[in-house]
Amino acid sequence: MKQITPIKIGLKIPKNPDDIQEYTKEVIETLSSNVTITEDNRRRIKLILVELVTNSIKHSEDPNAEIRLTINHPQLTIEKVDVGLQIKFRSAEQIPFEEVNKTIKVDFTKLNSLNIKIISPYRFKFLDAYRENMDIEHLPEHFGFYIITRASDNFEYHHNPWSKENTFIVNIKL
């Protein structure tokens, strides 16, 4: 451990998918200069960054969208923050949720269903949707949130209705 106090780093998100790999390399180098990262965690962080940035390029129109890193050893928090409309589901309840502390299934797009746990009216946690013996015909064709859920220790979404900030929050134990 090289640092005792939390370190906060803000990183503007690239707009071109072909810049993502170079971006993730630079982010991980920045992290490595502040804290020791194992090979396994390096892979997990890279997958998470690729998917958060890809999600931003696909869905966010905010030119100031950014990745925020907070190292509070042994906890690493990666946040993707943008200003815009809250996340919408194709079915099920919408934010703000009326009933908290329950699990529901939501469809983000066609062939992209996930289970979420409602934490507060404006916050939910992604749950691991893996099922054994899933047949090919019913396999999803969208894996971004699923990859982040499986690569992280905790993955949540929060919408601030006043500032209109959307935040995807990922936690990893270093």
């Binding site: 803000g10 990183l11 503007k12 690239p14 707009k15 071109n16 998918p17 072909d18 810049d19 993502i20 790999q21 170079e22 971006y23 630079e26 982010v27 920045t30 892979r43 890279k46 997958l47 690729v50 998917e51 890809t54 390029i57 696909k58 893996y130 899933m134 090919i136 015909e137 396999l139 999803p140 064709e141 969208h142 894996f143 971004g144 699923y146 990859i147 499986r150 690569a151």
Partner: protein, 123 residues
């Protein structure tokens, strides 16, 4: 603040193809299998399938990383082959890409082989 300059990297899918013993072997020539190419990749392979190719090997020997959109394209190709009784083998995946398949458990769905030679033995 980290800023990555706009790149001049290839935005189009580059594939090389050859048929070996009725198996279409497709080598992805790009280093990045990502959002900017996944839809084009899917359409190109769908066209090959519609043209009669049902035994496919896709080689990732040049690919450094693969994202969720490309993973989705591979699943769509597998689904397209299913009613045709076709077969798809993925080969020459690097350690990071293999790790992604293991993480998503898609390694249990796809046929993955380490070499082209062992891939062709699956048909």
């Amino acid at each position: 603040m980290i800023a990555v300059s706009s790149s001049s990297k290839e935005k189009t899918m580059k594939l090389s193809k050859q048929t070996i013993n009725d198996v279409l072997v497709i080598v992805i020539e790009n280093k990045e299998a990502n959002l900017s190419k996944s839809e084009q990749f899917k359409e190109l392979i769908f066209q090959d399938i519609e043209d009669g190719a049902q035994q496919l090997v896709i080689s990732f020997q040049h690919v450094e990383y693969l994202d969720s959109s490309f993973l989705g394209a591979l699943v769509a190709i597998l689904k397209k082959l299913l009613p045709l009784k076709g077969k798809l083998v993925l080969t020459q995946l690097n350690k990071d890409i293999l790790n992604l398949f293991a993480l998503t458990r898609l390694d249990k769905i796809f046929n993955i082989e380490s070499t082209l030679e062992t891939s062709l033995q699956k048909f």
